[in-house]
């Protein structure tokens, strides 16, 4: 097992003035045995970052160390890592067994050792009865497990996951998420997991990195990221529906942005208490109700318990924010105040 240290990482495509920098001065330290999720919108550089750790992309500037060893110039196969790809990248003409064994065969392991290791991994992932099948004879979820098995048999220091759940349907995704968590508990291997899905990030991560435009916006536990977003970007990216960000609100000084999560707004039944707003639309989601309302020129969303009576479209009502649940950001930099 090993930690991963990223120091002043920069990635530039192309040369000189025409160069396109996709990752800017990125620093992070992932502890030994930790499960870290990198989350961000598409094009934010999260996959590029992972591929640099894997050794599939060159590092333009900076240093990546796995354990105490700087791996910039080390071949992917020698970095002691394993990767699960988004489309699984199984070898189509090889059986499940051969897919998992291929890396070990290249490493010249003995046939017995290969068999022991593959059988063990197959046992963990419940693939034992599928070992002789070809990838095309497997379902999406099974292929995904084979891809994980291929990573496990190598007994690496670090697991890298590149959006491994995005090709699964919603139900299977939830189930696989749990399996990955369980696997991490059992094996305790340092893992770096890239996704664009905030639910995956929140549920899987011990700590998460939120990225935007090649820059790290925040690095912290899911609770920290949710409860104390470091910037307006994080505030609007994490949470569904996203945090209400108001440029104008009663009592808000100029140059500041006020953030309130939809679930932190409550209906106020006393006159003259709270803000008065007008309902635009109401959505019922089963257990709760989303009320989209207008406050002056701003729109905001409230998340109310569906059992409570809610205002109807076009009505005006008053709402208050829960104590201590207001977030203030600098309007220019977007940073938390």
């Amino acid at each position: 097992m090993a930690s991963i240290t990223l120091t002043h990482i920069q990635k530039t495509y192309g040369q000189g003035a025409k160069g396109n920098t996709v990752i800017q001065d990125f620093n992070a330290e992932i502890k030994d045995g930790e499960f870290v999720v990198i989350v961000g919108p598409s094009g934010c550089g999260k996959s590029t970052l992972l591929r640099m750790v894997a050794g599939l992309e060159e590092i333009s500037k900076g240093e990546i160390a796995i354990g105490n060893r700087v791996v910039n110039q080390i071949e992917p196969a020698d970095r002691d890592i394993a990767m699960v790809f988004q489309n699984y990248a199984l070898y189509p003409h090889m059986s499940v067994f051969d897919n998992m064994a291929y890396g070990l065969k290249i490493a010249n392991k003995s046939a017995e050792e290969i068999k022991t290791r593959v059988d063990k991994a197959a046992g963990i992932l419940e693939l034992g009865h599928l070992l002789q099948r070809k990838p095309r004879e497997l379902s999406g979820g099974q292929r995904q497990r084979v891809a994980m098995g291929r990573a496990i048999v190598r007994q690496p220091q670090v697991f890298l996951f590149d959006e491994p759940l995005s090709n699964l349907d919603a139900k299977l995704r939830a189930q696989t998420r749990l399996e990955i968590q369980k696997l991490h508990r059992e094996l305790g291997i340092t893992s770096l997991f890239v996704t664009h899905d905030q639910v995956e990030a929140m549920t899987l991560a011990q700590r998460m990195i939120v990225m935007n435009g090649g820059v790290m916006e925040q690095f912290g536990t899911p609770e920290e990221v949710y409860n104390r977003p470091a910037s307006t970007f994080v505030a609007s990216f994490i949470g569904s529906p996203p945090m209400n960000l108001l440029k104008q609100a009663p009592g808000l000084p100029a140059g500041q942005i006020l953030g309130i999560r939809p679930e932190h707004l409550e209906l106020s039944h006393q006159p003259h208490v709270g803000w008065e707003m007008t309902v635009d639309t109401v959505e019922l989601l089963g257990a709760e109700r989303l009320v989209h309302a207008r406050l002056g020129s701003e729109t905001l969303t409230l998340r109310l318990d569906a059992s409570l009576s809610a205002p109807k479209t076009g009505e005006t009502f008053r709402a208050t924010a829960k104590e201590g649940c207001l977030h203030y950001f600098n309007a220019e930099t977007g940073k938390r105040l």
Binding site: G55, L56, E75, I81, M83, N87, A89, L90, Y91, Y102
Partner: protein
Amino acid sequence: MIERNRWLNLVTHLVLCIGVVVIVFPIYLALVGSTHSAQEMAQSPIPIWFGNEGFTNFKTILMGEGEGVRNQLPVSRMMWVSLVTALCIAFGKISISLLSAFAIVYFQFPFRKTVFWGIFITLMLPVEVRIAPTYKVIADFGMVNSFAGLTIPLIASATATFLFRQFFLTVPDELAEAAKMDGAKPMRFFWDVLIPLSKTSMAALFVIQFIYGWNQYLWPLLMSTEERMYPIVMGIRNMTAGADSQVQWNLAMATAILALLPPALVVVLMQKWFIKGLVDTEK
């Protein structure tokens, strides 16, 4: 398109039948001709039903001995020359183009595009066009009357390179990356992953190139000045071009039938793979 119409059915069948007759009848005549004696074949009209000299005729040409055979090597030798040539060309083309397509698709090297277009442009330069300079080069290498001379100039193939390039481009990049993570060096990846995946394309190409090699006529005409290096296609030509004596049509026909067999066999045996290789997109 499915349309149920009696007349349409009749017309389509008629067209198909005409097509079959046009192609099959000459072959039938050749087959019949190969079973008669030389005298019978010299008559007019020529017979259209089988005679009983077939065994003798085939034996005569295969062994190169017996009545009516001019001084020439047995057809079996010619078939051997043709077979070796066709196989060398087919395998040579496949291996060279696999490797060059691999280089073009998977490696970043200076002038990669230029190299690709260079290969592509040679499509415009088949042997027939560059025959004089190519002959000069091969002759200077001393490769006249050798299998090397017969095959090497025909091996480079832009078509096959292009086909494999297109195929390799459809192989997901992640597969190469996964192999890299597994520790496979480029040639190992080529051998363990790309070659097994290209099997069907290789089979399709083999059929096409085998027939191409077997049917070579113009190039051996220059390259083979000794009879022992004549391919069978040239042999037929020589049999029917005797100015000094009467043409042994029965023997010429038998040779033609023999010349037909191997390509037909290759097509029949590899038909399934051939179609798969050209239409299959499953990877």
